[in-house]
């Protein structure tokens, strides 16, 4: 098996899905000739033509709205939002339309579509090229929200998303695009949307993370292993709907829970995981449920020292693990 980067896995998934199903198409800003500003779609324009890899006008709302219309007709659009920070103009179409179409029509209409968006900080992108947006969508019944943390999952989850009959928000940890490498089979496979995954077995505490923070969490867990602390790591992967069972099983075993994300703490996705644990695993808890998250400022600042201040990293995560383990 070849070892490839996260972004190559994403491109491979799209390439294979375009080849597999002629209803699949890509639409977004600069996805065509340019191959995407992160080059996630490089080569696809030449291979599949401008009708299937469409350079949209600079307007996210209609990228999604047009995608929805095409999906209603039976197509399988993959909409690219250039940066997750620019998804807000499309908020109405995602939340009012894509998410509610199935329920509101009592199942008569469905919206099989994927909305891909690179998210997250640590790349010098400042306030508007670094945001995490998962909490806005992991609250909206009718949507599925997926965040891969490694190339294998990235490819498998994206293929599953393309084939899913529902709107799937697929958030890509862009800091890891070229940093995170892993083995990926060349042929067809999917990773099911829904289940979280225990990516490291442990007994002393459970750490829940996703995307880039999952990558860092594994590094921190390695460090803690050297210190004799046995950390279990859960990659949440599908943020919505929540895989409560996997979340609860782990904390029931370890008795301690730490949730890590780079989005702002307050009102962030971690609150939901903490609440589920506090409600359903109360009697198993040996310590307060901890969250390590971005601070409550609008987003990641540009200047490097400020960015470092904002972002969780392996050291900060290791420190939080230590403290919780010692509780």
């Amino acid at each position: 098996m070849a070892e490839i980067t996260l972004i190559d896995a994403i491109r491979q998934a799209m390439d294979e899905e375009l080849a597999r199903d002629e209803n699949v198409f890509i639409v977004g800003e600069d996805v065509g000739k340019r191959g995407g500003v992160f080059r996630a779609t490089v080569g696809l324009f030449d291979k599949y033509g401008e009708e299937r890899v469409i350079d949209s006008p600079l307007a996210e709302l209609s990228i999604v709205g047009v995608g929805i219309g095409a999906a209603l007709y039976g197509m399988r659009p993959i909409c690219e939002i250039q940066f997750a920070d620019f998804i807000y103009p499309a908020f109405n179409q995602i939340v009012s339309e894509a998410a509610k179409m199935c329920y509101r029509s009592n199942g008569e209409w469905t919206v099989p579509m994927v909305i891909r968006a690179p998210y997250g900080g640590g790349i010098g992108g400042g306030l508007y090229h670094s945001q995490s947006v998962e909490a806005f969508f992991a609250h909206v019944p009718g949507l599925k929200v997926v965040v891969p943390s490694n190339p294998y999952d990235a490819k498998g989850l994206l293929k599953a998303a393309v084939r899913d009959p529902n709107p799937v928000i697929y958030l890509e940890p862009k800091k890891g695009y070229r940093l995170i490498r892993g083995e990926v089979p060349e042929g067809d496979y999917t990773v099911p949307i829904g289940p979280a995954k225990v990516t490291r077995q442990g007994s002393d505490l459970s750490v829940y993370a996703y995307g880039m923070m999952h990558y860092y969490t594994l590094q921190a867990a390695d460090k803690l292993a050297g210190e004799g602390v046995n950390v279990e790591v859960v990659d949440l992967r599908t943020l919505y709907p929540v895989d409560k069972q996997t979340v609860l099983e782990s904390v029931r075993k370890t008795g301690k829970a730490l949730i890590v994300h780079e989005d702002n703490l307050t009102g962030g996705y971690g609150g939901e995981i903490a609440a589920i644990i506090a409600e359903e695993a109360f009697t198993d808890l040996d310590a307060p449920v901890r969250r390590l998250c971005g601070p409550d400022v609008p987003a990641v600042p540009f200047s490097h020292p400020l960015q470092d201040w904002f972002m969780p990293n392996p050291d900060k995560i290791a420190q939080a693990m230590r403290e919780l383990a010692a509780y």
Binding site: P57, S62, G65, G69, R104, S105
Partner: protein
């Protein structure tokens, strides 16, 4: 584009049926039997004229809440409407989840719409894109109010259709008000059709009280769209002869004189005059039609009265497509 005598009479029938049904809804509301009604009275000619310009059942429609007459032309029945007004079990568009007049009819390719205005327009563009991708012979009609053309949503959708020469007809039903706000507070142009020039598509304004004029105008736009000549923006000039909805009191913002003046151009009066002048309609024929309508409407009211309410056991689903039970 010549209309047979039978078709002309059928168009009048559709307007009449829609009108009487609409009036009955107002009466049921006054009687306290239903909680809400939003009316299409005054816009029947625009809707019926447009509907007849389509290949009904084959072409696609993204309607809006005033389009009772349009939906009737597509096969929506008085019983369907009464189930919606009363929120009863079996309501076909949404399982009584949506407020009345939020249409959907899959078998007629009429897409489910929400309440946030103008969102259906980018769906129409997306449907048009899918039609074009599949090289099919269909068109899509999107309707909306003139106030709703103030939404950026609408502009983006029309822009898409114009750039990609999509087979979409955008029909603005200009009834001169958006709830209480007159059209001159929505736009600095004289007619919604004037907006077309700024987006690079054809724009045409037509007397929306004359069902046959509307038919001819839309039929031409449809022919253009089918011929690959791209979208047209049609404005049908009408007047909202009722308050905005059963929750509104329009005396707070417009005079009775103004309303009365427009009642003279009621589309049913205009339509009747045209047919009488052509010798196609007389009092006897009208009496017969009215009797038939009354029977249908009475039947629908009784049917809905006797229908049970939806079962709350069904309320949890289907949020996701995989929860849809077919058949």
């Amino acid at each position: 584009m010549e209309l047979s005598n039978d078709t002309q009479l059928e168009m009048y029938w559709m307007m009449l049926l829609s009108r009487r049904l609409d009036e009955r809804a107002w009466m049921l509301h006054r009687q306290g039997k239903i909680a809400f009604h939003i009316s299409g009275i005054g816009q029947e000619a625009a809707q019926v004229g447009a509907a007849f310009a389509l290949r009904r059942g084959e072409d696609w429609v993204t309607p809006y809440y005033r389009d009772l007459a349009l939906m009737i032309c597509l096969g929506y029945t008085p019983r369907d409407f009464l189930l919606a007004l009363t929120g009863k079990q079996g309501e076909p568009t949404s399982g009584a989840r949506q407020m009345p007049s939020h249409w959907s009819m899959r078998k007629a390719n009429a897409v489910s719409h929400s309440a946030p205005v103008a969102t259906q327009c980018s769906h129409a563009a997306g449907i048009g894109l899918a039609i074009k991708m599949r090289k099919e012979d269909k068109v899509v009609l999107a309707t909306l109010g003139e106030g709703s053309t103030s939404q950026g949503e609408w502009y983006e959708a029309v822009n898409w259709a114009a750039i990609h020469h999509l087979p979409v007809i955008f029909m603005v039903e200009n009834n001169q008000y958006a709830i209480s706000v007159p059209a001159d507070k929505q736009m600095a142009v004289a007619s919604s059709a004037d907006k077309a020039c700024g987006m690079g598509l054809r724009g045409i304004s037509v007397d929306g009280t004359d069902v046959y004029s509307v038919y001819r105008t839309v039929a031409e736009a449809v022919a253009d769209a089918r011929a690959g000549k791209g979208p047209t923006l049609v404005e049908a000039r009408a007047y909202r002869l009722t308050p905005h909805s059963s929750d509104d009191d329009d005396r707070t913002y417009r005079s009775r004189e103004e309303v009365d003046e427009h009642k003279k151009k009621d589309p049913l009066i205009v339509g009747r005059r045209i047919l009488e002048e052509a010798g196609l309609l007389d009092q006897a024929k009208i009496d017969e039609m009215e009797a038939r309508v009354k029977e249908m409407v009475d039947d629908a009211v009784k049917f809905a009265e006797q229908a049970p309410y939806p079962d709350v056991a069904d309320a949890m689903f289907p949020v996701y497509a995989e929860e849809v039970r077919r058949g």
